[in-house]
Symmetry: D2
Subunit: 484 residues, 4 copies
């Protein structure tokens, strides 16, 4: 059983107050000023890089140019870059410094299908039908790398000792690339990991999100002419439809936190043949892996029932899945402190106007951009909404997470509106802000050993005796999968 | 594999022309006059008996009074009556004479639920909600017993030698009582059997009807409060609904001659409980037992699939089933000959008027009663429509079948209109006609050994090497079944 | 829009401290001692009455003897009894005293089908298949009447001025009798109402429960012989099955607080007829009437879709439904105070042993009876579980609610175990306890005008501008309904 | 109502015996020898042409090269060629001669998806995934054009007067190109049309095949995130699934001659979005257009029901459809005469060996090729199996049809085995045989006016007062349809 305990208070006194002698000659506050300056100084380079990735519009496991652009930039900065890690061509690790502690930072860069959009506040595809950065990952990878670079500067100056490591993590939107990076042991020697995500507000991210598993069911029947002798056919299409009917009946018997959705991928090719093959992609979510497992098992078993009913064969293939996030409230409190130090992003009238036009176009209240620092929330037992493969990282290494404003309040996520805002100054400002907040918190982790220990203790306590096991099938990652 | 060959022609020369010396002192034609007179003489007794059974309105396996009335009458006539045969309280055998040949005749007497009706040509229940003789079985048993009695008279006079045996066969409308009578070996020593059925026309019955099997599927789940914790319930109702969905998808994959129908018997008792029990009655038909078996097996297997999908247990219970009729065209030709000798029934203006009013009320062409003798039809490979447990008798002993007019042309069967006509002179005339035609043909069977041999040879050839096995579960018949 | 505001704190100072001069010569605390004594004194009469109702085992709208027993007893005590109110033969009102304030108290007395049980701690039907008091309503009506009687005593003595009114409210378990009593205006002149419910713990009841609506859908098709001409049939059974399939697909698209359950009532009578009639009972629940309405409307609309798909006609009939409870935290705080004054019920070793045996038989932790006074809970926005027609009363008059221990901790509700405990001393003790707590709180309402005003203000504020409209079809209540 | 009367006998005397003086100087028998020689003489050209079309592997409406090859060859032979008729780029007409009578002949040339195959007797794709001539249409068009060329030779020689017209008819396998050619009036001035089809036996084709209609149903819902707020989604996928469920329930209520099949084309693109669009291709068949229409209307209506159930919008689009063939038994008798004159095709040992290997590979009895001339069958009221757009031609002009052996007995049609046999000498021989039989029968039509009149009278009588109306939507043919 997973346990989530939120006892961060005993560690709060540690924040910002280090009574341990370490190598740095400056105070943490002063170092934090330096990293802010470092981000500002590279602002042009970083926004250029972000805009290039924005324009590459590359989706999961196909982010060749995006990955190369980030890796090249890291290399130029002097990082030791290892490309193609975890059997994934677009996954890489960029490291700087040496020795302990090892602080990681995650960077995503994949786009979403069908969301290509111009940098205008109304729907207007740049390349009709092409992908677009509807989740802001063009900013994500760049901000994290910018933060790592700022830390590198301090290592160069001898202000900080240890290793900073940037993880170029592909395919977050589909397949969940981090699963294979975790499986490959790439996080085994890290002390703590930082991470952020673009969003419509600025806050320390302390909700767990949802655990999730993706799998496919294939049915194999016997084709027959649908008019001449349908009685000689055993329909894989029937099996699939009976399967989905069963799933929909089953909805009554899952807890309210469970979500089940599916996508019929194929159920016959031509109208006059009893189909001998069908395939469906099924996703199950719950607020925790513990709740997920019995539902996942039940829905797998239902495939056998459907196959018997339609007199066909079947096969269930695990694709992948993610854990809910193991929230580290101790580390989150340090991040919150830095957010409050930084204060909100300020916007120009033009940016607020752009935001309000997006809100008008998406029928949301036209309140513009909101970047005030939210108080750190309670971690809910059951959170709503999305899932992330950062969840899996968080079960092997303490993970501290930020959300920074890159889009107008109320923006429908995974939409053209996120693409538009992420390609212009609104997104750029959020990216720079995230880079600063992340590097400031990394300074805490590098320079305050007690904090780092407390972060680790929080992780250990909340993880309990759970032995992490990812939802990953044996064999290589589905880079060129024909599952789609 | 069942074979049905219709080579009746070689035997036609036998009909009406006997060159074998037997005991009777009169010609068959003369004997046939006698049995006609015998029926006419007992007409009042027979119609009274029929009207009493009509008024008893007793359904399958509950025909206590109807069975007793027939058995008592047989006993009064001097028959040796054995009641409660084949573990069925309402089944009996009434025998007269001794030695060979043994010629049987079948008599049914069960009513149908919900069809109670006055003797008027418009819908008017006698006892609201009570059963009624919507299939004319009040006439069926009486006519057959009347025919047996006419033969008895000839045995008494020494005109005929051998044994006539009347079978009181209950529960034809539901459960198919003859199955257990066949299982009990009650037909093992019979040379040939005769049978008739009320109908809207007069003809030798040479179509096979449909083979059929009835079974129930029960599902056993886990109850739960449907609002508080439906996730702790495993729904037997869901299983049943998924099962019927599967059956309906399966309809595409059966041959056009197959029929599948079902009746949901129970699927939960109250609205706020996930049901832990459900039950469905399923019937499968095809033009032959050979076509039926694979469909029956498939639909049984589907119950397992549905149970797996809903995570419940299940049980399949065979109720009963019937074979298609093994038509005996040799014997049928003899019957046809007698029909043509008898000629059609004649009706009064009042009877025709009554018939036309029924036709008006049931929106049929108002052409009145039709009793002309139809030519003997070709036996179709695939016949439509109904099923009868006479089918099972026909696979163990040669069976010759008649249909006689007891209702207006076009009357919807199993309806109030059949009840109305069967309770007054239209039905009575058909009953008497049937008694005559049956006893005339029995005279052929008793007095023409070559015909009887030809009838047996026809039976043997068409039956081929099929080993009869009835659709009967082990154990006693479902007299007090809680399956309903 | 319904608003629920929980501002009870400003009124807490009012409790137990009255600075207004009223007629009574004794302190409230002293009066509360008197009502306790009054309940104790009538304990034998009350338990006899409860045991008689327990043995009557009468279900919704058929509680003739139970209703009469309570009404007779009230009459003997001197109450003015009006029987057969609101067009319901088993509903009655028993009133004592005169003038303001008018304080009401509710009493239920209907049993549940199929739960008949002996007074033993293992499953053992008293009358196989008969109803039983699986919700403890045998105790419910009696305790409330006992409380009213205790108040009557004080009115008799001149200690209290005003009117106490007992409502005999039938059919809570099905159809929700209070709906018609509200519709008849029986609560229009009441200042506040009290109410309790048997349960496995003792606490002030401040959760809202669920709003609910019950309705039936009927489908009307065209019968046909399922084998001869199913193509001439239009199946009401198909329509019903397509309807339930649609409902199950719809489950994905309702909020997690919504519950939909149904019970197939009939979908054909015999296996070989395409059914021309089918009927289903559907229940929809949500945490509030506001959430319920759009789901209810959607599911009604789906009936049209199913009817079109199966080419049949349909009809939707509203049966009844209830509102969620409008919780009155001000009144609840007064009740809580009295509970804390009374302290927990104490049990004998034999009673605890009986309780543990029930827990053993129902596979619950064997911790015996728990009667400690729970602190008053926060009122949840979305509560789980059951529904009650007290909800409707609570929207027309301030309603204060109690739960008192009458069964072992963990007892599955609506089960034999509740019947067993409710028929012996465990139930009797809970009944007496409830009678005391209710009458003590009524003393507060009678003697503390400021409290009563605060209770009314709380009601008014939380009700807001909602105009109450019950889920009741036009016409009389379904006393002899053929809907079941 | 369509009537089909088979009174061909009165016209049989006409065959082969012309007592009318016409222009030709030779007897019909002699002319028939000439056309046989003509086919033999062009055998190399025709087989080359057939093999080229076989290798083009072009599917419906994309047969650019195939159409051009045939049209070019016709042009070389001197025919007047009109390309791109009926708004279809690949449809053409090639005409020779002038004046009456005008005798048409049909030629198809489209391949089937996914059947590419080498000329070997086991499954072996020539181009993996590419189309192949699994219905033998590479032979079909060429044989017909060869027959037309043989007639042209006789016109050139003055042996025959009138016009021969070859119709290059694309897209028989999908969309049914002839529908638009009929709509364009291209058959309005023709006296009779001939036609053939490759097959596993040789016979006059006198069965009606099945009428058919193809249509699509589109559902339009509202997308939503399937995890965050599925309650804001209205699922076009649900609508589609409810629609197919309804169709499968409906199967019980169609006559045994009806076939309904469908192909889910799209029901959502990604797993985590409630799909706002879905589309299904539905095909309905029956043995006649009369039986088809009410089923087609019913299934269209069901789309509305499904849309209501899922709360979405919908649209039904007619694609196309065909009539059953109006069989012309008078013309067929003339063709049968010629088949019997020609006698069966003879095969080499190598060909029979190739055939038996195909039969082995497809698990059929290894009896080789069967080319004996079957007797002309009775025209069944309800025939099984396929459908053809020749049906539509047959309702506007008398149509005489042949099947000739081009593949081994028992070959599964629309399979690699047909492709293999059709690409080598087995197919070539059948093609030449068809060319001869067709041109011989055309000679009868050109030279025997009484026969032609009798053929027309047969057509007129059987067509009755039916006003032909094709299953064609308004607007141009779906050449570049996005419906697929």
């Amino acid at each position: 059983m997973l346990k989530h305990i939120s006892k961060s208070l005993p560690f709060l006194f540690l924040l910002g107050v280090s009574n341990i002698t370490v190598a740095q000659s400056q105070s943490p506050a002063s170092l934090k000023k330096e990293v802010q300056a470092s981000i500002d100084q590279r602002f042009k380079e970083l926004t250029d890089l972000s805009d290039r990735i924005w324009a590459f519009e590359e989706i999961a496991f196909q982010e060749t140019q995006s990955s190369a652009a980030l890796a090249d930039y890291a290399e130029e900065l002097g990082f030791r870059v290892t490309r193609g890690v975890a059997e994934i061509p677009t996954a890489f690790v960029a490291e700087y410094g040496s020795g302990s502690p090892v602080i990681g930072i995650l960077g995503e860069f994949d786009a979403l299908p069908g969301l290509s959009q111009n940098k205008v506040p109304y729907k207007s595809p740049l390349n009709e039908g092409a992908p677009g950065h509807g989740c802001g990952h063009n900013l994500f990878g760049v901000a994290s790398l910018g933060a790592a670079a700022a830390i590198k500067d301090l290592i160069d100056k001898g202000e900080i000792q240890g290793t900073v490591r940037f993880y170029g993590t592909p395919a977050e939107e589909k397949f969940f690339g981090k699963l294979w990076m975790v499986r490959a042991g790439l996080f085994d020697d890290v002390d703590a990991v930082m991470d952020w995500h673009p969003g419509p507000e600025t806050q320390t991210a302390v909700q767990k999100g949802l655990a999730l598993v993706d799998f496919q069911v294939e049915f194999f029947g016997q084709a027959a002419h649908a008019s001449s002798d349908p009685w000689n056919g055993r329909s894989a299409g029937d099996a699939l439809e009976l399967y989905t009917t069963g799933i929909n009946y089953y909805r009554e018997h899952v807890k309210p936190t469970v979500r089940i959705h599916y996508h019929i991928q194929t159920a016959g090719e031509v109208v006059n043949v009893v189909p001998d093959y069908s395939r469906i992609w099924v996703r199950v979510r719950d607020s925790s892996r513990d709740g997920l497992i019995p539902v996942y098992e039940r829905i797998q078993a239902m495939a056998e029932g459907a196959a018997i009913m339609a007199n066909v064969d079947y096969k269930v293939n695990l694709i992948s899945g993610v854990h809910e996030v193991l929230v580290n409230r101790t580390g989150s409190a340090a991040l919150q402190n830095n957010l409050e130090t930084l204060g909100p992003i300020s916007y120009t009238d033009e940016e607020q106007d752009f935001a309000r036009k997006i809100q008008e176009a998406t029928e949301k209240p036209q309140i513009g951009l909101v970047s005030k620092i939210e108080p750190m929330e309670e971690t809910q037992e059951h959170s709503m909404g999305g899932s992330t493969d950062v969840g899996d990282v968080s079960w092997v290494v303490p993970t501290i997470r930020l959300r920074a404003t890159t889009a107008p309040n109320g923006t429908p996520w995974h939409s053209w509106a996120v693409v538009a805002a992420g390609g212009m100054s609104i997104g750029h400002k959020g990216m720079a802000y995230a880079g600063k907040a992340l590097s400031m918190t990394m300074i805490d982790l590098f320079t305050n050993p007690e904090l780092l220990e407390a972060v680790k203790a929080d992780f250990k306590e909340n993880k309990g005796d759970y032995i992490y096991k990812g939802f990953v099938p044996d064999g290589p990652p589905p880079i060129n999968s024909n599952l789609q």
